[in-house]
Assembly symmetry: C3
Homo-oligomer: 336 residues x 3
């Protein structure tokens, strides 16, 4: 596997192998498997977990990293094909990606959604173009529509917590956030849960239904893996017997790229802040998941985050293990 | 020792051991004592010496680092307990610290004073809260009221320069700076010198007396270690026979958090720029110390900094050695 | 060699040795020759290639790096001797350089032209002052008037492409850019090509003749190495039989430091965007070179950059190899 752009890039067999290796790496974190290897990290957007876990993970495997942050220690990069570059961007990814690849054995790239046109972002053109320009293994560290390292970590977390595949009830819930956010994490969590064969419910207020193309894909994955998918705006119904509430905010698809127009719809939804009472109809030890960063007492209360249901630190911790497994899969002989 | 928040966290015996080890590391800097270890560095504020010396020090011991800079390559972090996070900060340290700890074997954190309320900053609540959230060894890389790595480096510098403990005359002098600065370095230098058993004089203009709680603590340390503490606004008296003039600027405690109100007091103090004539009453080879960064010809003249008295580069160089010794103390079997 | 400020710092014999070693490192990139060594990198200006290639190169040789970026993760540095530092800069290079040197085995520093006074920038006073303050090996990573690592990479690229020394026709062409740019790269490319003994033509519009001191130096180098130097504004004449077109934009020397006054001259030069027809009179497989970053369709068209003539990624890739060779030259016993 030379490109990891979405969970789709792993067959069921390789996905199982990566998860098994991640579990093994959690028990025995250190090796020299990446000795002499350099992993280049290109962050077009901010990061905490991804940067730290990639740096730590490569280090624990004996490899090295470098980090390029356009707009900070480096200039802005242009991504549009054919652009007449008389604006702020000083370099095009058509040069930057092959050049960075000349210095590395793998590249990891973060490039968030442009947030202007839904169909464009759903097609993930920027990360796909960058991957196509890259002659070495390429890892998506969150793109317009996909955050596959997070999806891997979430899958491992569900395994760790012994949430059943068949019969496991997974609720992906919209939550309030002051700004419209990208679809990458909810899309990745949805597809991950569907592929894991769980009974998936998307809980969201009116106007926040996920794009139909995404739901169709998730429905097919669920069907193929023995699961199911439904959506509702009814919180109680959604959480009935739930094993997991995975919270995330996202932009209203009907107002994509028009945050001003969405504001009126959004302003009445401040009560979509996950709190303990939400879990009343859920299974006894229902878990709370979130990819982080999370705005406390806006998206979810202190009570939930500081209580025993919260799996958010475990999720984040698993980023380390799954990314190390992925690097071994992509960069070593016995990985494939 | 799992938390190094202030020099207090080292007993006299451990402090002596750390200083001895630092001297040994200066002679033989390289080892593999931290092989396989990752030290995470979280800088909520800018750094030059601390960042570079931590990176170099860990590298020389065979370990690895990662660096997170909120507000730069990462988003801003909220530190207030119970905050409703609808402002600029996207993540709370309640998540960030445990998550970063999941990727590392030790964390070093810099988080300067908030600069609003003196009593609050004196209690150092933010770094203490972060340390309490951290399940792995935690090093204060400068907090609201404490810069203990600097204090260690300063102690070693005094040893290197053979400034006597008993009978050594140490003057901590206020110096002019265009802005009111935090108390972390003057507090740490004061407590270090008092604990080293020296005859300590705080030299400062009217209005810049250090907080009484700090003076009381320093007085007790001096008494316990055979030293003494006095304060004065009389430059000549202060410097009579002095072995060391340690310059630093700090905010007027009476105007803490109100820089506009302090401005009138401060504007007449531009002659508190350390210059060669200050040393006339001092011991023949009296030394000049400063933690750096220093504004030349504002806080101290070129003549002093470029002359033979200046120990500032040695002080900075000692940051490397003492921090390496501290990491070994905290992270290795034979360190404790 | 303790300071690499310009290609002049390498004798012909050492230059040949560095290029030979670079070629060897391209074939066998990994070693432990820098094990235990720390290379400090100080970037006063943004970087992509230089940062990534230095990090990767040091890593591939078993060494370590740290990176300081004033104005980003660190404060601004003052460079003027004797400055009264009551402005934005919090630290002077007189402290910063010796301090960083205390943590490292070599320093690499980037500090672009001030862009105010041509004669000042031509004398390269800032990087020379910093090098003079540095007790350890010092590498110029682009200064006011010199980018010697780029010059080394360009030389190797010409060798790789088998562009002949004697008889090789090298055209350094001005190209349009929305802003007046520094002279470091054109100066370094010019002197490199002249020293390589090629037939060098500077192609530029009226008003953009390179400073006479630079042309005089290049002419002497060309004469000493069997080459030649001419300049012209006639594109067809310049490119007649050319093997290489090296494009770069630079400020009009007559308007140096006065971008507003240059604007009128510059605005009519948008057709100085290198395109395929430029190569009509050139040798059959004439190559296009540029140091990157490059603004596509402003300075050079997609057609040229994406076509077979473009050597820009190879140039950038060679940065890695020549810098590694240079580090070995400066930091190891058998390098000298």
């Amino acid at each position: 596997m030379k490109r990891f752009l979405a969970l789709d890039d792993l067959t069921d067999a390789r996905l199982a192998a990566v998860l098994a290796r991640a579990a093994a790496l959690e028990r025995r974190p250190l090796s020299q498997a990446l000795a002499g290897k350099v992993v280049g990290l290109l962050f077009m957007n901010p990061s905490l977990r991804t940067l730290a876990s990639m740096e730590a993970g490569v280090a624990q495997l004996g490899g090295r990293t470098f980090v390029i942050t356009p707009g900070q220690s480096s200039w802005r990069l242009e991504t549009r094909p054919g652009a007449v570059m008389d604006g702020e961007a000083a370099e095009h990814v058509r040069e930057a990606i092959p050049v960075l690849a000349a210095y590395a054995d793998a590249l990891g790239v973060r490039c968030f959604a442009e947030g202007k046109d839904l169909e464009t972002d759903m097609a993930d053109p920027v990360i796909r173009a960058m991957a196509a320009l890259c002659p070495i293994p390429f890892i998506n560290l969150e793109s317009a529509i996909s955050h596959p390292c997070q999806a891997l970590a979430d899958w491992k977390t569900l395994d760790d917590l012994e949430v059943p595949r068949r019969g496991g009830r997974f609720v992906l819930s919209w939550a309030y956030h002051p700004k419209p956010l990208p679809l990458a994490v909810p899309a990745s969590a949805l597809l991950m849960a569907a592929r894991r064969g769980m009974a998936v419910t998307v809980l969201r207020p009116e106007g926040y239904a996920l794009p139909e193309a995404l739901m169709t894909k998730a429905r097919a994955l669920a069907a193929a893996h023995g699961g199911a998918l439904r959506e509702t705006a009814d919180r109680r119904a959604a959480l009935e017997g739930a094993h997991v509430l995975y919270a995330k905010s996202w932009a209203a698809p009907g107002f994509y790229g028009r945050p001003g127009d969405e504001a009126a719809l959004r302003q009445d939804l401040r009560d979509w802040c996950v709190d303990e009472p939400w879990f009343a109809p859920a299974a006894p030890c229902a878990r709370f998941m979130h990819c982080l960063p999370v705005r406390r007492n806006v998206k979810v209360t202190d009570a939930v985050l500081d209580g025993p249901r919260s799996a958010v630190v475990r999720q984040a911790g698993n980023r380390l293990h799954v990314q190390k497994a992925l690097l071994l899969e992509m960069l070593t002989e016995d990985g494939a």
